[in-house]
Symmetry: C2
Amino acid sequence: MADKRPTITTVANLANVSVASASRALNGIKTTPDVYERVTEAAERVGYVPNAAASSLRSRRTGQIAFAMPDVANPIYTAMVASIQEVVRAGGMRLVLHSTGGDVDEELAIVRDLRRRFADGLILVSLRLSDDHVAELGRSPVPVVVIGRALRGARVDTVQADSRRGAAEAVRHLHASGRRRIAFVNGPLETVPGAQRHEGYVDGLRATGLALEESLLETGEDFMVEPGRAATARLLQRERPDAILCANDLLATGALSALHDSGLAVPGEVAVVGMDNSALCDVVYPRLTSVDLGAARRAQAAAELLVKRIEQPTRRARTIDVPAALVVRESCGAAA
Amino acid sequence: MADKRPTITTVANLANVSVASASRALNGIKTTPDVYERVTEAAERVGYVPNAAASSLRSRRTGQIAFAMPDVANPIYTAMVASIQEVVRAGGMRLVLHSTGGDVDEELAIVRDLRRRFADGLILVSLRLSDDHVAELGRSPVPVVVIGRALRGARVDTVQADSRRGAAEAVRHLHASGRRRIAFVNGPLETVPGAQRHEGYVDGLRATGLALEESLLETGEDFMVEPGRAATARLLQRERPDAILCANDLLATGALSALHDSGLAVPGEVAVVGMDNSALCDVVYPRLTSVDLGAARRAQAAAELLVKRIEQPTRRARTIDVPAALVVRESCGAAA
DNA sequence: TTGTAAGCGTTATCAC
DNA sequence: GTGATAACGCTTACAA
């Protein structure tokens, strides 16, 4: 902690120029080399650093990007944070983080808070996009990019994963490697990913000619490890599946754990496939086959979209689709 | 996106009071109930939201807390983010995130950037605290709380883990359960945790009467999974240890992976112990015994310390010690 | 209690 | 290109 900070006036006086010239020199706006020299030197000498609040107030730019996601502890969002952070830093901006707990009201509160203009834009990941979101997004004074599902009626840029097709592909792969009783451990059905992945699972069954069996379906109350473990345990009390597709890697991790506890061999007796292809996949045992939904790419695309939109607020809203791709690892080799 | 925003003047005019009264009413400063009523109603009606930059500029408080850590992707820092986020939100503030990559220059740049006054305070996690840090921290206009090691000569609040004692305890536990060739997979020795945990390992050997063997020491070039895998693989080329203590859970995860690949049973042939007791422990197979270094508590303590210090900048610098505790799980049961 | 008015530190708009 | 000067939107003395 230190004392009195120099302001731009300090610098201007020291350099014998007006504050206007000082400001211009410091912001890279054309000046005489002489002025530029004197100003930068003076700034250097007194250790001048511009005040963020003052420059935001006048310039109407905060240099901050906000990112709101359901849960910081989920590796998939962590990966997104890392991607966004890169883009943000490359642009000399700062990242403001919000963890919403997946709560819709919380999400809406954050969008509403944008009216404070604490950030130049927001990247929002929501599991439950509603009309309320559309309405609130419409009132935002700064651009918002949604990672999730394109919202009809909202003029916002969107980045989407093709998780439906990804889930279907996973089912086809399991079928192709000889599995016939393919269970599905999903998260809450009323979420966007929950609904889409369920559809993908059904698509996959249809494509392979397998029947949809209620007894092969389980949903965790959340896309987390424990719900995955519990859901799988319930599944195993019925006629045993020979493969389990999980709606994300956390659920799959829970599934692996439940299978270990039951003494079932993976992939020998039961194959397991996750979704997200997160860092978890190389960490669990056996390594997890997973559907890559391009989290890092989605986050990067969202960040870049946002930065462009901030610079050019009037351009048309865009939707970017990021394809899914199955990444095969140990957890779904051949059946025993 | 929308159009012209109402300012406090809009509200004041509508309520037929001065802007000063409007400001007071909105900030909970004593006014006539009548004035309060009219102002809040007017604010409500026009959807007034105060401008963050303007209020920061005048009040000299940004309502933002910054957190700088080596790596967002490391679950231990993720846990810290979650803890800090809670405190920050409870105080109605925002969290600004910086991932430094463990780079000292990056860390120093962030501290320097505080002079912009973009945040009211900073929580800094550094793996390599130096005199440069002391110097730069001394120049910060806002308080900084360090999570790491107390810095001599710096007037900053600090939160420390007792990782030295924790490592020693892990060694003692392994010895007590019959292990005699206890290896140590460490991260870079020139880091604060690397150095401390090494000392703890040596303490533990001494306490149990085991000899320090060079061949049982390995260091990864980083506290990550891959270096852990590689270090363990190197270790296994020599005379086999019957236990491996790892300097953190990521290294331990890599160790487990290398052991699986070598076909060695855990804990039957080799016991494994990690440090940090992160979310990873319940996710890997077998579940990882780990030394809890109180990450969540440290982060929470740091955040609370910072908030208090912001409110009361002159109070004495404090150092909080968070104790370590071994959490026993499957990876270190009895030897075969 | 309330209103008046003076900034907070910048950047943007003018004439020059 | 440069220098006055007026905002930016708010908080806070100070006087009433």
